[in-house]
């Protein structure tokens, strides 16, 4: 009941004209960038970060939450109309969605994805209200060793589960951690990795890293491999659904929600796994399995719901523990750090109004999205016709502006270019980007909690072991690391059995 009261206060905070306008702006911008090629919600939030430093943190978070949810909607529009999913999470939507569109059912595909996203987003946000305070209650009792162990779980999670290659994920994480320790050591005041450059003494700003890796790196990568051909747009009318579409959609929506939320909440779950799972489930349960691969509405409804529910799930570890499980959440955490707010278990106690206003704005943003997107889908499709040179020049323009605005020093612009080239190289060689940014954000925290644990034990390594919680955490780390070896061994024994 207490939480309900807090939530109502949150609604009170959001329902001011200015904050509502920001929520509307957020979902509009979010949908727009979701539709635009090459720009995702993570990049947009990164680009907008420096600009929002003049705002109140609550307002910035309302804006970002709108972009976060809006990007998901916009992404599905492109998957359905063009068969070019921008985010890995909407790959599955494209399979059936684009087939539906080609069969003249674009309107129904868009409608089931929008309504499914709304339902999953709303249920997911309710689950945040229920689950998040419980997680905080558990987390608040954790000491430095336990917290350190949980951060290690996050590190292994993002490197091991997400990328196709653990080695490459691990390399990205190490580079991120290295970036995070540049600057003056917080305890002893010693300079590390600054090469005597005074501008580096304060460390490399997370914003510059995020903008460099996500915006500049992506723009350079796309620029080097620009597609020189236009895709066909499938004309859309007003999204709508017939009675049979509703009948076939509502169960996949709910099942997708159930699958998506927990995967979003665990580190490295991401939206890819639940969307694929949802697709396979719907295919198995469908009364029209023959339609799959030719445009089955269940194959759009389920994965889209799973996608949005997992986005909601992401916010649980982000708000309760300060752990990012996807790129957008990582950058929202960076934003909080930029305001001098320390994300972590104490966030809810220290900044209850911020957290609850953020959650309330998710409910509102989600509703705005449905109202906004059902009638506007044809208008959004027009955005696809912006000439590429202007689009990517615009990204570089905003990236430079944002990076300069952080500290008002041209040095950051050179740093931005260097980081952009790093982001380019990572995309070229297939290094995942998320471990790097997570490393930058959590690196200092990991070092601090690690050093605090050792301080308690007087330098003895046993200090890192802590209590049962960290034992479980280390167990998970070991399991995740050893799993592929185990799986390999299992396959081998099975094979030899089969051979025998």
């Amino acid at each position: 009941m207490d939480n309900l009261n807090h939530l109502l206060t949150g609604f009170g905070d959001v329902l001011t004209p200015l904050n509502l306008a920001l929520a509307l702006l957020g979902v509009t911008v979010g949908t727009g960038v979701g539709v635009l090629p090459g720009i995702g919600p993570a990049m947009t939030v990164a680009l907008l970060l420096p600009i929002t430093y003049g705002m109140h943190p609550t307002q910035a978070m309302i804006l970002f939450a709108g972009i976060f949810y809006g990007g998901m909607y916009g992404g599905s529009t492109t998957s359905i109309l063009l068969n070019t999913p921008g985010e890995s999470s909407s790959v599955v939507t494209a399979i059936e969605g684009n087939k539906m569109a080609k069969a003249g059912r674009a309107a129904q595909a868009l409608a089931t994805s929008a309504i499914g996203s709304f339902i999953a987003g709303t249920i997911g946000t309710m689950l945040i209200v229920l689950v998040m305070p419980q997680v905080v209650k558990f987390a608040i009792s954790l000491g430095a060793p336990e917290y350190f162990a949980i951060i290690l779980v996050a590190f292994t999670g993002v490197t091991a589960v997400l990328g196709s290659s653990r080695l490459r994920g691990f390399a990205a994480l190490l580079v991120g951690l290295t970036i995070s320790i540049v600057g003056i050591d917080f305890v002893t005041g010693q300079q590390r990795l600054t090469m005597g450059i005074p501008q580096l003494a304060d460390g490399i700003d997370v914003v510059v890293v995020a903008v460099g890796i996500f915006a500049v790196g992506e723009a350079l990568w796309v620029a080097a491999h620009l597609r020189h051909k236009a895709a066909e747009v499938i004309p859309v009318g007003q999204p709508w659904m017939g009675r049979s579409d509703w009948r076939r959609s509502w169960k996949p929506w709910l099942r997708g929600t159930v699958l998506g939320f927990p995967f979003g909440a665990i580190p490295a779950g991401g939206a890819e796994i639940p969307t694929v799972l949802s697709y396979m489930t719907e295919k198995k349960l469908s009364k029209h399995p023959e339609e799959f691969g030719k445009g089955a509405i269940e194959g759009v409804a389920g994965p889209e719901a799973a996608n949005n529910a997992s986005a909601a799930g992401t916010l649980v570890p982000m708000l309760a523990l300060g752990l990012p499980t996807n790129a957008t959440a990582a950058i929202m955490l960076a934003a909080l750090q930029g305001y001098g707010i320390e994300p972590g278990p104490l966030l809810l106690t220290k900044e209850p109004r911020l957290v609850w206003a953020l959650i309330a704005s998710l409910f509102i943003g989600n509703t705005l999205l449905l109202v906004l997107n059902l009638p506007l889908a044809p208008a959004w499709a027009k955005l696809l016709q912006i000439p590429r040179p202007y689009l990517y020049a615009g990204i570089l323009f905003f990236a430079s502006m944002g990076a300069y605005a952080v500290n008002a020093q041209p040095f950051d612009l050179f740093l931005l270019l260097a980081l952009g080239l790093l982001g380019f190289a990572m995309r070229r060689f297939g290094l995942p980007v998320l471990p790097l940014i997570v490393g930058v954000i959590l690196g200092r925290l990991a070092e601090r909690t690690g050093r605090q644990s050792l301080q308690l034990s007087g330098g003895d390594l046993s200090g890192l072991l802590g209590g049962p919680v960290s034992w479980v955490a280390y167990g998970v780390v070991v399991l995740v690391l050893v799993w592929p070896l185990l799986a390999k061994a299992l396959v081998r024994t099975r094979r030899s059995e089969a051979a025998a």
Partner: protein
């Protein structure tokens, strides 16, 4: 472990990957050298001091660089990132990258003396040109409009740090 396919193909695909391994290794060595420079400043308050973390990172970087090189030598290859607007069948267009970087550096050099409105316009126009825009006047017009709009909205409206430069007093 990694996505190396059965080694039907003898030898290494995509040799440039060794360059990345070298870079990782060098970064590791640099971190180690830098860590050795740090004075041992541990105290009872902070028993391990500022050195162990960089040392650990440096060692891990070198180890990962070696493992990575082994993986590449055995035919491993990172998957290039695909995207809506990315055509991986073409070779990387280095000319565009160099021109974009040049526009970027120009902006960094000009932003303080000339101000954001001028340097930003140049940046936009230059990047659009690098990316194949041939409507020069339109590109410049959009650039100027964007820089003016951002300057008024963010620098004057929201108090974001953007320099007025030589246009100080006119804007």
């Amino acid at each position: 472990m990694t996505d190396h396919r059965p080694s039907v193909m003898t030898g290494v695909r995509d040799r440039a990957q060794f360059g990345l391994c070298t870079a990782l290794g060098l970064l590791g060595v640099f971190v180690l050298v830098d860590a050795s420079r740090i004075g041992a400043a541990s105290s009872s308050n902070d028993p391990i001091g500022p050195r162990p973390v960089p040392i650990l990172l440096g060692v891990l970087l070198v180890v990962v660089a070696v493992l990575y090189a082994v993986d590449v030598a055995r035919g491993g290859r990172g998957e290039e990132e695909a995207g809506e607007d990315v055509d991986l069948s073409t070779r990387a267009d280095w000319k565009t990258i160099v021109m974009l970087a040049a526009a970027f550096v120009l902006n960094a050099l000009l932003i303080q003396p000339l101000g954001w409105v001028i340097s930003g316009s140049v940046l936009f126009w230059g990047s659009a040109f690098a990316l194949g825009n041939r409507h020069h006047l339109r590109g410049l017009a959009i650039g100027i409009a964007l820089s003016l709009a951002t300057f008024y909205a963010f620098a004057i409206g929201l108090g974001v740090n953007l320099p007025a430069g030589i246009l100080q007093g006119i804007l």
